[in-house]
């Protein structure tokens, strides 16, 4: 077992290098009939202690996955608790009230399970993968790690090194820093809080601080347990003895989009920039149309190692502005009540101005001239293909269900999602484009910014 301290923005649902094959409608329907695993509806119920439980039984795989998700991301951090979610995440394998760290590790290795903790800006997900026969031990390890944290002071001190290491790794990656900067400038607090601890907080997390945070935020209505490959009754039985650390209810502060600009000069050959406006939350009825718009604009090359200008409008536009290497993709990040929609671009430092202007004018032309029918059709197929391909992986499926359950309270099956995508019309896409693209922009830029224009020079 290794406690994987991975943080990825899981809600960024569209990977860049999607190889969308020309799937015709006929092929899709026979696939849907033969593929039984993810086409079932999830059973959802509530435990006596108030925690929501969902399960999706799949009979084909011997692997069961259980995820305990808590609506406790960096979004809920106060200004004196920055990075506390990072600390929570790296201390997943430390001693808890029922098991020592050694026992937890040995139990998990004995059953060959994986326990990891993933943080998005809104949720903290403790995931367990194990064989179906070992679920009793596995789920007890998961529940003890997620709800009965003991936060022994000497172990918290040992964890600080992990935080320092992860922050140093992020420091080396301009793309990751760009995402953090973008959110910070767009939202300031709530969704603007970073996924990683700031350097002034290294070594400052104390046992009391963590315990207080957990007791305040891990309440029953903000937690859910989802099982994939496990029957509902069985899962509920394993969770009978689960107790919830927090009590009381506290409402989340609504994410308020502010907009603005931030730049960070670090030199080098390349410049990275992202320009977004406020998008839509996942509960908004136009969120699906916005995803279609994202694929209309272009999510990167669809054929690996190609330059992508045939597939992506913005790559085509930027390719005409420069002949040096670049990459650009449309961003559509969705949170429960807000989102970001725009693009990011990476280019050689001397070409950045032209690339940004070209891509921006492409976005502008969508609001003025609309979109072509075949672009919308192509985008709809890409959205469905991307969703279907992501659902091939059990851990993606379960994390998707987890996020839906916490933000909406219900789980949407893949067929319902496909129906929603099919019902998006060209007019919907144009309307949502006008609504979203004309909002107040935010810009973040990092790298060699010698020719990168400021936001007011671009608009």
């Amino acid at each position: 077992m290794s406690a994987k301290f991975t943080s990825r923005s899981v809600l960024q649902a569209f990977k860049r290098h999607v190889s969308a094959r020309a799937n015709t409608a006929r092929q899709e329907s026979t696939d849907a009939a033969g593929l039984q695993v993810q086409d079932q509806h999830a059973w959802v119920s509530k435990l006596p202690n108030g925690v929501t439980v969902a399960s999706l039984d799949s009979t084909t795989s011997p692997v069961a996955r259980v995820v305990l998700v808590a609506n406790v991301g960096p979004r809920f951090e106060e200004s004196d608790q920055l990075g506390i979610t990072h600390c929570l995440r790296v201390s997943v394998d430390q001693a808890n009230k029922s098991k020592t760290a050694f026992e937890l590790t040995r139990h998990l290795t004995q059953i060959g399970a994986n326990l990891s903790c993933t943080a998005t800006r809104e949720n903290l997900m403790y995931s367990l993968d194990c064989l179906k026969d070992n679920l009793d031990i596995g789920v007890s390890c998961l529940v003890s790690a997620a709800t009965q944290q003991a936060f022994k002071p000497w172990e918290i001190q040992d964890c600080q090194q992990r935080i320092v290491f992860e922050a140093a790794v992020v420091e080396q990656q301009p793309e990751a820093r760009l995402t953090e900067m973008l959110h910070q400038v767009a939202y300031r607090d709530t969704l603007g809080r970073s996924l990683y601890a700031p350097s002034h907080m290294f070594g400052k997390y104390s046992s009391e601080m963590l315990m207080e945070y957990v007791n305040k935020n891990f309440t029953a209505e903000r937690m859910a347990v989802i099982g994939l490959g496990i029957g509902h009754k069985q899962l509920t039985r394993y969770l009978k003895t689960m107790s919830v650390p927090g009590s009381g209810s506290n409402t989340a502060k609504a994410a308020k989009y502010s907009g603005g600009e931030v730049r960070h000069e670090i030199g080098g050959d390349t410049a990275y920039a992202a320009i977004v406006t406020e998008g839509l939350g996942s509960q908004n009825k136009d969120a699906v149309a916005l995803s279609v718009l994202q694929c209309v604009m272009g999510c990167g090359p669809t054929i690996k190692w190609s330059n992508g200008s045939a597939a992506s409008k913005i790559i085509q536009a930027a390719g005409q502005a420069t002949d040096q290497p670049f990459a650009t993709s449309c961003i559509n990040t969705t949170y429960s009540d807000s989102g970001l929609f725009g693009f990011y671009a990476v280019a050689q430092a001397s070409q950045m101005g032209q690339v940004l202007k070209a891509v921006l004018s492409e976005f502008g032309s969508v609001t003025k001239n609309g979109v072509a029918d075949q672009d919308v059709q192509k985008a709809k197929m890409q959205v469905k293909a991307c969703a279907a391909m992501m659902s091939e992986n059990g851990s993606n499926v379960i994390q998707n269900i987890a996020q839906q359950l916490l933000s909406e309270g219900t789980v949407q099956s893949q067929e319902e999602f496909f129906r929603l995508v099919d019902s998006v019309s060209k007019q919907d896409v144009v309307n949502v484009a006008k609504k979203v693209i004309n909002g107040k922009p935010s810009m973040a830029a990092i790298g060699n910014l010698s020719t990168t224009p400021h936001l007011d020079e671009l608009m």
Binding site: T100, F102, E103, R106, K152, P153, W154
Partner: protein, 111 residues
């Protein structure tokens, strides 16, 4: 220790004997507690590492003061000697935890 065990009913004669033995000992006259005097085995060393900072500092102070007094072949004034009621077995919970962890490790490694 009989004094520390919370739920054990200790006979009065036992308590009196304990108090007499405590007051006859050397370490209370140097202002030390029982847990300051423990021989530092690996278990005790690990337990000391886990003490909260204020408890550890107080322990260090008592030990430094005791070493100074012992060097000068001196003791504290009688009213400053540690009394059995004030003596706190602060290290025992940590020792118990360390020993429990070692037992668990030993059990697992047997298989």
């Amino acid at each position: 220790m009989a004094v520390a065990a919370k739920n054990v009913a200790v006979p009065v004669w036992r308590m009196t004997l304990a108090k007499w033995a405590y007051n006859k000992s050397y370490f209370p006259s140097l202002g030390m507690m029982r847990d300051d005097c423990l021989y530092e085995t690996d278990v005790v060393k690990e337990a000391i590492k886990r003490l909260p900072n204020n408890v550890y500092d107080a322990r260090q102070f008592r030990m430094s003061r005791a070493i100074y007094l012992s060097c000068n072949k001196d003791t504290l004034p009688k009213d400053e000697w540690t009394k059995i009621e004030e003596d706190e077995l602060y290290l025992q919970p940590y020792i118990a935890e360390v020993e429990r962890e070692r037992d668990i490790k030993r059990e697992w490694n047997k298989q």
